[in-house]
């Protein structure tokens, strides 16, 4: 279920001399205790946490090329481009091809290739350009056999390399392999990625009802709304409001609907048909239908402009008129309707925002002697990665694309440097002052090197490395384009759970997310407490409560055998956490400021 809550006042601008008052609210707007309260807490925190739940973006790739090789004797080449996704097994799967541009060495193809962007995986792409033989020019491009055409060149990159570039455009060299096994650079291919316009559309509405039917025997109804979109064969819920207890004339908090919730096929948000159902909340979970309305988003806007209500209807069980719906006196009003641009994760990334990766590795004795094959830190001579190396590599290879300088802070904790004391935050590269290493390979090298220079000790404490990451995030607050991702890899239970909770609560107001990977076979119950997905909001020993959920925990063993890699489980919530932070502070992508400055 997707959706988002926003209390940003309509018409307020975030840039220039106008006042900005970004707020984040967690109020429920209801009274009374019991199940309703619990239900409201869960719903509200869920929506706050999932600012962009299950993020995926539909992208369209536009291709152009310059400097292609001239193969035709009496005319120039007739180029066509084909786009492949490279699978894990190395095979290429065609995902689209352009039209043929006749007589051109510098084609600008018009047809776009669609691809779904997934943040949590690396998506390698291969582009091949062919010169289509003259006798095939009247054929449909789909029927062309590529081995009958002249091959002009090939280029490859990851999809995230394109979307992290300014304006989402990437220039690639086309490489041709000739018959003698050599390679030659011939021409340049430019790939531009664009999100569909619908991705940014969002509508915020405030719903109010009057004269609802009373379903409770000794008190008034506890109504909530469920909004679903209509698909073939039924409906799919996309939004659920909070419960307003004991009220037949409720007003709910703002509902925010975005095109993304309706899938890639919805080209126009306003035309989307919706079913709005009003239920009376029951603790048993079997909620009673009060009434139902079917409207498009545009219809709801019309209700708002005309300031009229729409009567609910309820299916009747009368045997005489089996399909008739009874019109009720209860009505739905739209008190506020505002269209807004909801900037996507890719809007921020392509305008220059970065994800800065940090790593912290557990060096406590419970991992076992690194020289023994049973150790979790064992470096296999065959080159097979241990669990720590696997986690570092798989997370790092995804996140590195979003960091421009690719210098990553890397720490260890719970180990004792030779001739030193036990440290709960030491630099992995062994340097007393420099904590950054170069690239993912730099982390791997520093890790292997540290195993020779550090004695495993204990106990297991997270607080110091979390505070150190928070310190770095704090120092970057003047630059709003930086967001930090700390990966903690650990094998054991915490010695001081409360210290870790306190550090996490302090960090929750900063541009920082924390990924925790559990390796080995220990009991990870404490980790589940830290992960807000399965626990409640963290509360520090001083009574401060986490502003937002920044922790994601995944035990290594659960995913090693499955199809979904550990990286996908860890990283899928990261864009949502990023967006929750940015939107709560009304921070916009850089191109918005540029546009307004030039205006």
């Amino acid at each position: 279920m997707g959706g988002c809550l926003s209390d940003v006042r309509g018409g307020q601008e975030a840039v220039g001399g106008n006042k900005t008052d970004p707020t984040t609210t967690t109020d429920m707007g209801s009274s009374g205790g019991g199940g309703g309260t619990t239900h409201n807490d869960a719903v509200d925190f869920f929506f706050r946490s999932h600012g962009c739940h299950g993020l995926f973006s539909q992208l369209e790739l536009s291709l152009s090329a310059t400097g292609l090789r001239d193969l035709d004797v009496f005319s120039k080449s007739d180029p066509m481009a084909v786009v492949y996704a490279k699978k894990i097994d190395g095979k290429l799967e065609e995902i689209g091809r352009t039209e043929v541009i006749m007589n051109s060495l510098d084609p600008v193809w018009i047809r776009k290739v669609s691809i779904v962007y997934q943040f949590e995986i690396v998506q390698p792409l291969v582009f091949r350009v062919y010169d289509i033989d003259t006798k095939y020019l009247n054929f449909s491009v789909k029927t062309l056999k590529l081995d009958e055409q002249d091959f002009l060149g090939e280029a490859s990159c990851a999809l995230s390399e394109i979307v992290t570039k300014h304006n989402k455009s990437l220039a690639l060299k086309l490489i041709e392999r000739n018959g003698q096994g050599g390679m030659r650079h011939q021409g340049t291919l430019t790939v531009h990625a664009e999100e569909t316009v619908a991705s940014r559309q969002a509508v915020e509405m405030i719903f109010r009802c009057s004269k609802l039917d009373n379903k409770d025997l000794f008190s008034k109804s506890d109504p909530f709304l469920r909004i679903s979109r209509i698909v073939e064969g039924g409906t799919i819920p996309v939004y659920k409001t909070e419960v307003v207890k004991n009220n037949l004339n409720p007003t709910w908090k703002p509902v925010c609907l975005s095109a993304q919730q309706f899938g890639s096929k919805a080209s126009l948000l306003l035309d989307t048909p919706l079913v709005i159902e009003c239920f009376d909340f029951n603790n048993s979970g079997s909620h009673e239908l009060i009434g139902k309305i079917q409207k498009s988003v545009a219809d709801l806007e019309k209700l708002h402009l005309e300031k009229v209500g729409e009567n609910f209807r309820i299916p009747t069980s009368s045997t005489r008129k089996n399909h008739m719906k009874v019109m009720l006196k209860g009505q739905l009003f739209v008190d506020r309707f505002s269209e807004k641009t909801r900037y996507s994760f890719l809007d921020y990334i392509s305008s220059g925002f970065e994800l800065n990766f940090m790593v912290a590795v557990d060096f406590t004795a419970s991992n076992g002697n690194p020289h023994l094959p049973t150790s979790l830190h064992y470096i296999d001579p065959s080159g097979r990665l241990n669990a720590y190396q696997q986690a570092i590599f798989e997370v790092g290879e995804v996140v590195q694309f979003y960091d421009s300088d690719k210098r990553f802070p890397a720490w260890g904790f719970g180990g004792r440097p030779i001739n030193g004391v036990v440290s709960h935050c030491f630099n992995l590269n062994g340097s007393p002052s420099e904590f950054e290493v170069e690239g993912v390979n730099g982390i791997m090298s520093a890790y292997s090197s540290a195993l020779h220079n550090v004695v495993l000790a204990g106990p297991t404490l997270f607080g110091k490395v979390i505070d150190r990451a928070s310190q770095i995030a704090s120092q970057s607050l003047h630059n709003q384009t930086k967001y930090f991702v700390l990966l903690i890899i650990t094998d054991g239970v915490l010695t001081d759970l409360q210290e870790s909770i306190d550090a996490l609560v302090r960090a929750s107001d900063l541009p920082l997310s924390i990924l925790i990977v559990g390796v080995g076979g220990a009991d990870f119950t404490q980790m589940e407490i830290l992960d807000a997905d399965k626990g409640k909001r963290l509360e520090s020993s001083t009574g401060r409560i986490a502003t937002r959920d920044i922790v994601q925990f995944v035990p290594m063993r659960e995913v090693q055998g499955g199809q979904i890699s550990i990286v996908q489980s860890l990283l899928e919530e990261l864009p949502g956490q990023f967006l929750t932070y940015m939107r709560s502070r009304d921070i916009k992508p850089l191109f918005v400021n540029e546009a307004q400055t030039s205006a």
Binding site: A14, P22, T24, T26, D27, M28, T37, H478, R544, I545
Partner: protein
């Protein structure tokens, strides 16, 4: 008397959750008092007559923040008849939003557990806090001062005045 110009503390009281009196949810009329540990400096929000035990104010309060203030106190009360009853309070250390690395103007979104007078836990209060840099009025012409006073956005780097050459 402190001769230094105090900074201005801007507290936006956003909302509260699950407010109870004698373990029963309050029905209406919650409001919040914010004060520094200098007890003469305090501000009230308006009364939320509709939110029940989950009130919402979104109200901005400003207090002077002297350099030796150690914490601010946020007390949630409920107006009953002609008087007010204390629901719970939270003591917020200054270090939660002023630190060695925190730049000026950074907006903190903070939530705190409320404690009753007897120490029992009550609900949660949500607010945002920002420290505004002092304005040296004697050195600025009124135009710049007015512009600065109207400027309420999040500053990036060093704040600059608008519409005037410094």
């Amino acid at each position: 008397m402190d001769k230094r110009t105090p900074r201005v503390l801007e507290v936006t009281v956003i909302s509260a959750e699950d407010l109870r009196i004698n373990d029963r949810s309050i029905k209406k009329n919650a409001f919040v008092v914010v004060q520094t540990d200098y007890s003469i400096n305090y501000r009230n929000t308006c009364i939320d007559t509709e939110g029940g035990s989950y009130p919402s104010w979104n109200e901005k309060l400003e207090l002077p923040l002297y350099h030796n203030v150690r914490f601010i106190r946020v007390e949630v009360q409920c107006k009953t008849g002609s008087s007010a009853r204390m629901i719970g309070e939270a003591k917020i250390p200054i270090s939660d939003f002023i630190g060695d690395y925190i730049p000026p103007h950074y907006v903190h979104f903070l939530s705190y557990r409320l404690r009753q007078r007897d120490g029992e836990r009550n609900g949660i209060v949500n607010l945002s806090v920002r420290v505004k840099v002092p304005l040296y009025r004697t050195f600025l012409p009124s135009g710049v001062q007015a512009a600065n006073e109207n400027y309420d956005g999040i500053a990036v780097g060093i704040p600059v005045s608008y519409g005037c050459t410094v």
